[in-house]
Amino acid sequence: MSAAAAGTSKAAHGDVAPKKRRGPGALAYLVIYNVVMTAGWLVIAVGLVRAYLARGSYHGLYYSIEKPLKFFQTGAMLEILHCAVGIVPSSVVLTGFQVMSRVFLTWAVTHSVREVQSEDSVLLFVTAWTVTEIIRYSFYTFSLLNHLPFLIKWARYTFFFVLYPMGVTGELLTIYAALPYVQKTGLYSVTLPNKYNFSFDYHSFLILVMISYIPLFPQLYFHMIRQRKKVLGHIEDYSKVE
């Protein structure tokens, strides 16, 4: 769900982002931010490829990119700030939701439950995220500089067809793999009785998270499809005329 959804809010609000609201300083900052993020995810991509070539198998590639993944995915939380301050014309709530769901998977599932880190499902969503983010951040960089190559725009609105379900599958499988360990160790869970009369079962919470994908994933997926028609639709019309 987080895989391509991170692009959704920007698609919904800001592809033709009005730049009137921000000054040249903010513009420079955003360009630097997006360049740095593109570079960061490229590092992760390169790291994955190198580790695969070195080991010769898909297994356990997570460990080779663990640190940059955590750093750059957590860094994406700045985007919530960008919306709140107003230099990016997207909804704070939508962006917050998307970023935090990624951060949740990175820290509260993959990092916290050591046993799932060697699962292949982790590689599945990390790959989906990596490709998506490289395209997304380069899209923003070029948009901000008013020199958006059609290829990038096309990639952003086409790759999601595969990357999105791929990412969702990886995420769901990872959470599912984490369930038995969470139940066994009582991770992040609080039981009664206690002074503040509160209880929390992380295992049940994870199951609820998995269920929430059912209504949310189709909505976001079809939203991206609609955005694609809007953004790329007129290009096909021109080619028909010719």
């Binding site: 009664l192 009785p193 206690n194 002074k195 503040y196 009369n197 509160f198 209880s199």
Partner: protein, 322 residues
């Protein structure tokens, strides 16, 4: 006769009757044609006439516009004063099922009232089997139940006897959403307070009693403000004034805030959190505080804009702070 009367009598077309064509705003098809409509009819009258052709679309459910993308026409608007000729074309939108505000609030409040009691009496299948239909050994739990019940009974009485509502109705999906919020949260916090493993407050009776005193003060305050606001509205829409402190000491909070009713409401829930020492209650209080602050800020801004002499000392919801 004067020139203006001459023009009025001879040159204004159709001070006879007007014809109204109602088109569906989405399909642009004509769905109703009203002949020989009195030009002095209001939009409300048009809606009643419209309902004759479509009985299931009661007026509260109808939205009529002159332009499909334009504003919804208010019920009080008179046909003659609208920019229409002898044939008025209007666009219709179905707003969906609507419920009167009184019913809305009663539905929202009856849930917490009853669900809490279900948990208090430990109806079977909520808690473990051996606790079914037992009662808690802690007096705190019974008193908390009394407070919670009193809070919602007070709200329902106010809804029926005190509040006067401006807009007639509310859409069904909003009601469902609000009910889910109220009913869901009250079930969640009732679950913990009435749980067999409930732990009473750390500072015992003192903590509970201070909480109770604060709770009672806030409930009285909240009620006083509602009565004050109600009396304000009674003076009619034309004589608009903002609320000011009265002889009732609870209304003196108006010196510091625009919406003391929200302040007292938050205070009541804070005191309930202290009384029960229950984290879910504190969390619910926090959410309520955030929502009420948003409302209070909106109201505060509306007051400040409307009344040039609005006291500058007043904040929205928390004295001197927010």
């Amino acid at each position: 006769m004067s020139r203006t009367t001459f023009f009025e009598k001879c040159c204004r077309p159709g001070t006879g009757t007007i014809q109204v064509a109602v088109l569906d705003a989405n399909t642009r098809e004509q769905i109703c044609f009203l002949d020989k409509v009195d030009p002095y009819s209001t939009i409300g009258n048009i809606k009643c006439l419209f309902q004759k052709s479509y009985p299931h679309w009661y007026p509260a459910r109808q939205a009529l516009k002159l332009d499909p993308k334009g504003k919804i026409l208010r019920d009080e608007e008179i046909l003659l004063h609208l920019p229409v000729g002898t044939t008025a074309t209007m666009f219709f939108i179905d707003l969906g099922p609507q419920l009167g505000w009184t019913m809305v609030f009663l539905a929202e409040y009856i849930g917490p009232l009853l669900t809490y009691l279900l948990f208090y009496f430990r109806v079977p299948y909520i808690y473990s089997h051996r606790y079914a239909s037992t009662s808690s050994p802690h007096p705190v739990v019974t008193r908390a139940c009394a407070c919670h019940t009193f809070h919602y009974v007070k709200r329902m009485i106010e809804t029926i006897f005190v509040h006067r509502f401006t807009h007639g109705t509310m859409p069904l999906r909003i009601i469902v959403r609000n009910c889910a919020y109220y009913w869901g949260f009250s079930a969640w916090l009732a679950y913990y307070i009435n749980h067999p493993l409930y732990t009473p407050p750390s500072y015992g009776e003192i903590q509970f009693n201070y909480g109770l005193i604060m709770f009672v003060m806030c409930e009285l305050g909240n009620f006083s403000i509602h009565v004050t606001l109600n009396n304000l509205r009674g003076d009619g829409i034309r004589g608009r004034r903002y609320p000011i402190p009265t002889k009732n000491p609870f209304t003196w909070l108006f010196l510091f805030v625009s919406c003391p009713n929200y302040t007292y409401e938050v205070g009541a829930w804070v005191s309930f959190s202290i009384m029960t020492q229950c984290l879910p209650v504190a969390f619910y209080t926090l959410l309520g505080f955030i929502q009420m602050s948003i409302w209070a800020k909106g109201k505060h801004r509306a007051y400040s804009r409307e009344f040039k002499d609005y006291p500058s000392l007043r904040m929205a919801i928390i004295p001197l702070i927010l």
